[in-house]
C-alpha cells in the first residue's frame, strides 16, 4: 500500500510536468494522485465492488483538488487532470484488446464493459464533487445577497 502511494505520487508528478505546470503547483498536484490511489486501494481492501472503489478515489482526489485550487488560485483542471491519471483503467483497456484479438469475445465484452464502468465511476466521482462545490458557492452567494437586503 505504501509503495502504491509513493509510486502514484511520482506518476502524477511526471504528468504534471509533462502538462507543463510550474514546479510549486506540480508538487502539490501530485499529492492528489496519492490521495486518489490511497482511497481506491482502501476501498478495494474493504472489499467493495471495483467501480465503487474507483468512485471513492475520484471523490477524494477531486475534493483535494477543489480545495487546493481555491487556496492557490489556479484552475481546478491543473489539479484534477494529473491526479486522475493513476486511476485511469489502462489495464482494462489492454485486457479488452488482448482478449478480442485472441478470439475470446465473451472475455473481451466483459473486460470492455468493466473498463467503461470504471471510467464512468471516475466521471461520476468527479461530477459529484464539482456539483457539490458549485452548489455550496452559489448558495453562499445567495445568502450574502439575502443578508445585505
Amino acid at each position: 500500500m505504501m509503495m502504491g502511494i509513493i509510486m502514484s505520487y511520482f506518476a502524477s508528478l511526471s504528468f504534471a510536468f509533462l502538462f507543463n505546470l510550474n514546479k510549486k503547483t506540480a508538487f502539490f498536484t501530485a499529492f492528489g494522485g496519492s490521495i486518489g490511489w490511497a482511497f481506491f486501494t482502501l476501498g478495494m481492501d474493504l472489499g467493495v465492488d471495483p467501480p465503487v472503489a474507483y468512485f471513492f478515489g475520484a471523490l477524494a482526489l477531486t475534493f483535494y483538488s477543489e480545495i487546493m485550487a481555491r487556496i492557490m488560485k489556479t484552475p481546478v483542471t491543473s489539479y484534477v487532470t494529473p491526479a486522475l491519471i493513476p486511476l485511469v483503467p489502462g489495464g482494462g483497456l489492454y485486457q479488452t484488446m488482448l482478449k478480442s484479438l485472441s478470439g475470446d469475445y465473451n472475455g473481451a465484452i466483459k473486460e470492455g464493459l468493466n473498463t467503461l464502468m470504471y471510467s464512468g465511476a471516475l466521471a461520476i466521482g468527479i461530477l459529484v464533487v464539482f456539483t457539490l462545490i458549485k452548489t455550496y458557492y452559489s448558495l453562499r452567494r445567495k445568502l450574502e445577497v439575502y443578508e445585505k437586503n
Binding site: M3, G4, M7, S8, F10, A11, L13, S14, F15, F17, L18, F19, N20, L21, N22, T25, W37, K73, T74, P75, T77, S78, V80, T81, P82, L84, I85, P86, V88, G90, G91, L93, Y94, T96, M97, L98, S100, L101, S102, S119, L122, A123, I126, L127, F130, T131
Partner: protein
C-alpha cells in the same frame, strides 16, 4: 476605445486557453469578462473545441464580430492558469490595450520545459506506473526506456502535425514492439503485460477525459460529446497499435 482591437485581443486570450487544454466555459467567460472589463456592455462568445466566435455591440449599436479557427497544440496547463489570473488582474486594475497585448504575447510565447527534462519525466512516468501496476524492478527499468521513446515519438510527430489518432497507433505499436523485443532478448524475469500497461499510460487521454466531464457538467454538451469521443478514439488508437504488433509477433 478601440473596439476592433479589443475583440481581437480578447479572442486571442480565449484561443490560448483553448489550445492549451482549458475548458469551454473558461474560454467563454474569459473572453466576455475581458471585454466587459474594458467597458463593453454587450459582449457574447460561443466556443466549441475547434473554434471561437465572438461578438461585441458598442454604444451606438454597431456590431463587431470575429470568428477564429483553433487547432490543437500542446497541452500547457500553466498557460491556462496564467491567462486566468491575467483576466482577474484586468478586472481589478485597468491595463491599457497595449499592456494587455504585451502580456498576452509573453504568455503565448512561453516555452515548454526543455525536451531533456520532458524525457526524464516520461521515464519517471513509465517507471512508476509499472511498479504501481505490480511489476518488478526489471519491468520498471524497461518501461523507463520505453517511456523515453514514446515521448520522443510524441514530440516529433506533433511537430509535423500528424493526426492525433495516428500518433497513438504509432505510440502503441512502439510500446508493443520494444517490450516484446526486450523481454525476448534480456535474460531477466520480466512480465510483458505489466510493461505494456505501465508504458501506455503515457498515451492515455487524460485531458480529453476530464475536460469532457467538466464541459458536460457546465452545459456545453456539444464539446462534452466531442471530447468524450476524442478520449474514446485515442483509447481505440492505442489498442489498435498494441494489438497489431502483438498479433504479428504472436504474443497473446
Amino acid at each position: 476605445m478601440d473596439n476592433k482591437r479589443l475583440i481581437k485581443l480578447a479572442s486571442w486570450a480565449g484561443k490560448i486557453i483553448l489550445e492549451s487544454g482549458g475548458e469551454i466555459y473558461r474560454v467563454e467567460e474569459t473572453i466576455t469578462k475581458l471585454m466587459i472589463a474594458y467597458g463593453i456592455k454587450d459582449a457574447e462568445s460561443f466556443v466549441t473545441p475547434t473554434g471561437i466566435m465572438v461578438s461585441l455591440t458598442d454604444e451606438e449599436g454597431n456590431v463587431i464580430s470575429l470568428i477564429q479557427r483553433v487547432t490543437k497544440s500542446n497541452v500547457d496547463l500553466e498557460k491556462v492558469s496564467l491567462i486566468n489570473s491575467l483576466s482577474r488582474q484586468v478586472a481589478i486594475k485597468h491595463l491599457s490595450l497595449d499592456e494587455l497585448h504585451e502580456k498576452l504575447q509573453v504568455i503565448d510565447e512561453r516555452k515548454p520545459y526543455p525536451l531533456l527534462f520532458q524525457l526524464f519525466m516520461a521515464a519517471l512516468s513509465g517507471f512508476s506506473f509499472t511498479l504501481l501496476f505490480g511489476g518488478n524492478f526489471a519491468d520498471a527499468s524497461v518501461a523507463l526506456f520505453i517511456g523515453i521513446g514514446i515521448r520522443i515519438i510524441q514530440h516529433y510527430t506533433r511537430e509535423i502535425k500528424l493526426n492525433g489518432i495516428f500518433i497513438n497507433i504509432l505510440g502503441g505499436g512502439f510500446v508493443a514492439i520494444s517490450s516484446v523485443f526486450i523481454t525476448k532478448t534480456l535474460p531477466f524475469e520480466m512480465h510483458l503485460n505489466t510493461i505494456i500497461i505501465g508504458s501506455i499510460m503515457l498515451l492515455v487521454p487524460g485531458i480529453a477525459f476530464t475536460n469532457g466531464i467538466r464541459d458536460t457538467l457546465m452545459g456545453d454538451y456539444l464539446s462534452g460529446v466531442s471530447r468524450g469521443m476524442e478520449a474514446f478514439l485515442i483509447a481505440v488508437g492505442i489498442a489498435i497499435g498494441v494489438g497489431m504488433i502483438l498479433g504479428i509477433t504472436g504474443n497473446f
